[in-house]
C-alpha cells in the first residue's frame, strides 16, 4: 500500500508526494499516472496538506448503507442514488468549513469513505472497476440542512451540499484499503458521533464505479463519496469534526462563523 498527499510549501508551490513515515517524497505529475521522483524528501511537518486531489466530479451517494436505510424506512435502491457537489465545494484537511453568509441554520456533518478514480472509465464491469480505482480517502459531506427542503417543489440537494468548503476530503489517498473490515468513525469536538462498518454498504466501491460509469465517464481524480450511515448530526459554530478511517487517517475541519453581514 502507498499513501499519497497533495501539499503546499512556502517556496516550492503545490505538488503531489508519497508519504513515507513523517517524510514526503515529491513526484512530478499525478500519483495515478506514472509519477516520477522529483527532488529531496520533505518533512511532513514543513508542508501544508491540501485536498489530496482536485476532482472534476464529486459524486455523493444517498441511501447506501443498510443500517441507515432501515432506520429511515427507505427501500434498498436498485441503482446508486447520487447528486453532484461542485468542484468549488472541495476543501482539504484542516481547512475551515465556512458558514455561508446568507445562512444561519443547521449545518450537518456526514463522515464517509471516498473512492478516488485513477483512470478514465466508461461502462466498466464490477470486475474491471477495481483497476479504475486509484485509492481511498475520507470525506465529510457537509450540508446546510435548512436549505435542502426550503422549496416545496424541489429538493435542493446540490445547493444545500454545494457551498464552498462543504466537500472536505483527505488527509491523503491510500491506494489499498481492506474496506470490508474498516469502519468510519466521526467525532465532534472529540466525542464519537458515528462508528459504522463499511461492510454494511449496499453498493460496494467496485459496484459503485461500475454502475456510475454506465451513467457518465469517470476521470482520474474524480471522487465518489460512498454515502453515510447512522449518527449524522449538527455542527455548532466553532466545533471541529474529525472523520477517521484506519489505513487512511483523520480528516479534521472546523466550522467557522460567517464574517461580515449577509447580503440583504
Amino acid at each position: 500500500m502507498s499513501q499519497w498527499v497533495r501539499y503546499r510549501t512556502g517556496s516550492a508551490g503545490e505538488g503531489f508526494g508519497r508519504l513515507e513515515g513523517d517524510r514526503i517524497e515529491p513526484v512530478r505529475g499525478f500519483p495515478w499516472k506514472q509519477p516520477q521522483p522529483d527532488g529531496a524528501a520533505l518533512p511532513l511537518s514543513s508542508v501544508t496538506l491540501l485536498a489530496p486531489c482536485q476532482p472534476g466530479k464529486l459524486i455523493a451517494l444517498w441511501n447506501n448503507f443498510y443500517a441507515l436505510a432501515a432506520k429511515l424506512g427507505k427501500a434498498t435502491p436498485a441503482h446508486p442514488l447520487y447528486l453532484l457537489k461542485p468542484s468549488t465545494s472541495v476543501s482539504g484537511p484542516g481547512d475551515p468549513i465556512r458558514r455561508p453568509r446568507s445562512y444561519t441554520g443547521k449545518i450537518a456533518f456526514e463522515g464517509e469513505l471516498g473512492i478516488v478514480i485513477g483512470q478514465r472509465c466508461s461502462d466498466v464491469s464490477a470486475a474491471d472497476a477495481e483497476r479504475c480505482i486509484f485509492g481511498y480517502t475520507c470525506v465529510n459531506d457537509i450540508t446546510a440542512v435548512g436549505v435542502m427542503n426550503e422549496s416545496p417543489d424541489f429538493v435542493q440537494w446540490c445547493r444545500s451540499k454545494g457551498y464552498d468548503t462543504f466537500g472536505a476530503i483527505g488527509p491523503l489517498i491510500a491506494t489499498e484499503l481492506d474496506w470490508r473490515s474498516a469502519s468510519v468513525v466521526t467525532t465532534l469536538e472529540g466525542a464519537e458521533r458515528q462508528r459504522y462498518a463499511l461492510a454494511d454498504m449496499i453498493f460496494s466501491p467496485q459496484e459503485l464505479v461500475s454502475r456510475i460509469s454506465q451513467d457518465m465517464t469517470l476521470l482520474p481524480g474524480d471522487v465518489i463519496a460512498c454515502g453515510t450511515s447512522i449518527g449524522v448530526g449538527s455542527i455548532p459554530d466553532g466545533a471541529c469534526v474529525a472523520v477517521t478511517i484506519e489505513g487512511i487517517g483523520t480528516l479534521s475541519n472546523t466550522l467557522t462563523a460567517a464574517s461580515g453581514a449577509a447580503r440583504p
Copy 2:
C-alpha cells in the same frame, strides 16, 4: 458584440477564435482573459466547431419561466432552483446525443439560454453580476425522462440529465445579447416545438449569477442554463433537435441509437 468559437483543425489542434463573418481569427488563451491574436484567419468551413467552452460547472435551472410554472401549477421560487450536470456531459454543435446503452426509454430536449461566466465571482450583487458574464450560448438540456423518477425516494436529476453528451452547448458565445427581446426557438426535425420569450424568465441572468454566486464560487467558463419553458418533448432515435437564439445562432444535435448490447 463579438462572437467566439472553440474549434479543432486537422493540423493545428484545438483553439479559441473570434468569428468574423465566415472566418475565424485564432487567439491564444481564453476569450474572457485578454486573448491575443495568434496567426492567420481560418475559413469557418475548414474547422470543426466544438463546445464553445469547457465548463467546470454546468448549472441547470428548474422552474425559471412564468409560463411553464403556471402550466405545471408550481409556485414562483424564492431562490433559483438548480441541479448540476457533470462536465463530462458537455457536447458541442453537431455532436451526436448518444442514447445510454442501458436505457431504452424516452429522451427529452429542452432548449435554453446559457450564461457563460467570464470571471471568478463569489457573493456578487445583481448590479455587479453583469461584469462577471462573458456572454451567452444556446443549451439543449437533455434528459432520460424514465430515469428521473425511477426511485420512489429520490428524484434522480443528476443521473437522468448527466449522461455523456446530454449537455449540448453552442454553437458560439455572443458577448452581448439583448435577451429581453430575444426568444428561444427549438425545432425537432425542422418542426417548431418551442418558441418562448426570454423576457418571461423569473430570475434574469444577472439575478441568477448574483444569487448562485452566493451559493458557490463561479469560475470562468462555467455555464448556467437558464431553464426552459413550454414545449419540451421527446426525441425519436435519429431525430435532430435545433435550438436557435437570434444573435447566437443554432445548436443542432441528433440522437443516435446505442451501439452494442447493454451491460446485463
